[in-house]
Amino acid sequence: MVLNFGEKQDMKAPGPITGVEDLKRWKEEGLRSISPEVVKVTVGMATCGLASGAQSVFDALAEELGKASPEAVVAKTGCMGFCEMEPIVEVRHPGRPRVIYREMTGEKARKLVAGILDGDVNKQWALATVDESSNGSPPATIEGIPRLCDLPFYQKQKKITLARCGQIDPENLAEYIAAGGYSALWQAVRGKTSDEIIAEIERSGLRGRGGAGFPTGRKWRFTRGAAGDRKFVVCNADEGDPGAYMDRSLLEGDPFAILEGMTIGAYAIGAREGFIYVRDEYPLAIEKLEKAVVQAWACGLLGGNIMGTDFSFDVRLIRGGGAFVCGEETALIASIEGRPGEPRQRPPFPAEKGLWGKPTNINNVETWATVPWILAHGADEYGGLGTETSKGTKVFSVVGKINNTGLIEVPMGITLREIVYDIGDGIPGGKKFKAIQTGGPSGGCIPEELLDLPVDYESLTRAGAIMGSGGMIVMDEETCMVDVARYFLEFLKEESCGKCAPCREGIDRALEILQRICRGKGEEDDIQTLEAIGRMMQGFALCALGATASNPVLSTIRHFRDEYQAHIQDGRCPAGVCRELIRYRIDREKCNGCTLCVKVCPQQAITGEKKEAHVVNEARCVKCGMCYEVCKQGAIEKE
């Protein structure tokens, strides 16, 4: 069977993989593709790169390099993690350290091309160098440019699940195999029993990366032991937390790892069919995944007789309609079955009765993608990382008020302080750190006093937050915690399915109270009422969405009670966010009458003569804060 792998894929498919020789052949092909004998320029083309303009950089590079040197290669890759520096371009000269350039534009790329072929390095735009020649000599460096692993952003990271993201072409199976892919599946189907595999996963201590942290090995064992001859494995790629994009980056940057993990899981569990439930808001991820499935299928890595054995496994992609609640496993099952995405009561758990009443094993993208590494490197090496109860590494997307926005992978047990200040390089604009929100809308806010908290499942739960799927939102002193709680409840009000009364009515009423507090109309017993609603939802709601929906409220009350009280008792928003509680005033001493604020005010609320102090007419002011942002003298004060 001849399959066209797409326009960019002129690689000759070295045929189906049924023996060691085939794997070797694919590996050689992949190594040639990763480091060819010619100049290779790689552009990070995941969603984060594309959003910062990677497409125009790619087009410019392809055009200019095509003119200057037709044999040079321009390639695409996934996200390297350092999203703050996107679009990222990597230049690889045979026999020299690779140079990574940051914040490229089409124009910069054109200028870069002129030098690339001569081997020039533009030190001004370079971010770092990488040299991984393994001939024993110390890695080559270029003076004036740090090595990638020495950058503070990468120093404390340990890449296991993300190891291939941003390093290989996600659409190229050969490159995946060259980077160590499919060796775990080979070992599994060729020499291990399902019990050995499950025991290995159990021993590694891997816990579900989707949020709840249930031990993966134990879950597999349940599904394996469940009665029934037809079983399913499901990959939950319905990532919906605001500010979280770990799964997206993995799907876009390393889709084969997910397929390999699922195939291993299916082999161990005894499933023959798998589903990947991806939200439709991830078009690029779906595209990459589709291409990966087609290639894996064509090469005997999916479908019948995988790797020449009599084990068969097939995968289908299901595109989610965009409901946050479908990330909950019973709602996800309902959605795959074609019913409305609403959770149902557990037990029975999906391991017993899942898709169409058959035993079903559901794991998150990150969990599946970690499985091949554990089997290839051994459970002990994985279990050696992390803490006593939380083993291995975890991927986090660190966003919000932080200098180094990006996707990081760190060993469990690292402190939040290290993530915020070492990897994240602190808060922009010299502002003060206030809180870090982990676990998305079901998570909680952790204050500065608890920054030395080790990141593991238990510690975060004790602090009133959760590990969640790995979103971390950093907030600075200009963030109002009541407003944050209000924001998350607004999100959850939209996304609650409305089936059970505690979640539907509880979120609605808690939001009503929070909105009132933000308007300065809070009442004395509002905090108690919010806490009571929160406690009730934790115990009474049908699914995890409802049971954790009150976490943003309860954790902000727990750690920032004074801020709630300031809103309710003094009618004051300490962070200056809640519009109805703030006033703008111009300091007559500082104002030099530059009239800049007059020009930006959309309400013509500021008056004053040139070079004289201005005044704000409060009756007209809508508190948009434009004047505050624009004033160079710092004369505008928020009260």
């Binding site: 996304e495 609650s496 399915c497 409305g498 059970c500 009364a501 539907r504 979120i507």
Partner: protein, 251 residues
């Protein structure tokens, strides 16, 4: 038989029973809104939440969905249960302050007033009508639309549904009186002619053959009255109960 303790009393029930049914068999009252003997467990109103101790774990669980197990210790009056139930009833009362069924239920469990602003809805979204139409009648003419607070019950796109048999099982089972047959639904039947004018008892499968002699005015139909008297419940539910009995127990 399985034995468990509910509120300090030892209760013996058949396996596969739910904790709710076990409590009822012992005469222990548990508040419910979305439970119905002819319909499968749904677990949406959560009023029946109780504290269940199973070995080392003590959790709050909806008793309508929780199967009994040897040695369970159930408390229907634990402080967390009472606090949560009271708040939940206040929330439901705020949603439907004028619905007699909700007011009575709230009062029964000691809730007379609500601190929350009233919304004056007439549907509690218990889903009894939707499940009756699906599981008992088999027509699937109504369902839920919308999500979260905009969730509501209705026919697809709120058009008059061709799947509706006008059997009235939904209006019968509705605790709030919100479900009402639309005049259009009946009018649709009245337009039919000849042998298409089937009686609702025929459409539901209660009788083999019966045409409507009464222009679909069931309230004034002697046959309808006689049937209702005979079953003592809505005919659809009587048929469903009979169907369950006829099904042989699995070997």
């Amino acid at each position: 038989m399985i034995s468990l303790r509910i509120d300090g009393r030892t209760v013996e029930v058949e396996p596969e029973t739910t904790v709710l049914d076990a409590a009822r068999s012992a005469g222990i009252a548990i508040a419910t809104l979305c439970d119905h003997q002819s319909l499968g467990a749904y677990g949406a109103c959560r009023l029946c939440t109780v504290e269940i101790t199973d070995g080392p774990k003590t959790t709050l669980q909806a008793s309508c969905c929780y199967p009994v197990k040897e040695g369970l210790v159930v408390r229907t009056d634990a402080p967390a249960v009472v606090e949560g139930r009271t708040l939940l009833l206040q929330l439901l009362l705020a949603r439907c302050p004028d619905v007699p069924a909700v007011r009575e239920l709230a009062e029964e469990w000691g809730v007379r007033d609500t601190p929350f602003t009233r919304k004056n809805e007439d549907c509690v979204l218990c889903g009894l009508c939707v499940r009756a139409c699906e599981q008992v009648v088999g027509a699937e003419a109504i369902g839920f639309s919308g999500r979260g607070t905009s969730r509501q019950v209705g026919t697809p796109f709120n058009f008059t549904s061709d799947a509706c048999l006008a059997c009235g099982a939904c209006t019968y089972v509705c605790p709030t009186g919100r479900m009402q047959m639309e005049a259009e639904t009946v009018a649709r039947f009245r337009k039919r002619i000849g042998t298409e004018r089937k009686c609702r008892y025929m459409l539901m499968g209660v009788v083999d053959s019966k045409l409507c002699p009464n222009n679909y005015d069931c309230r004034r139909c002697a046959f309808d009255h006689a049937m209702e008297y005979r079953f003592g419940t809505h005919p659809a539910f009587a048929v469903a109960a009979a169907r369950v009995k006829e099904t042989p127990a699995p070997a």
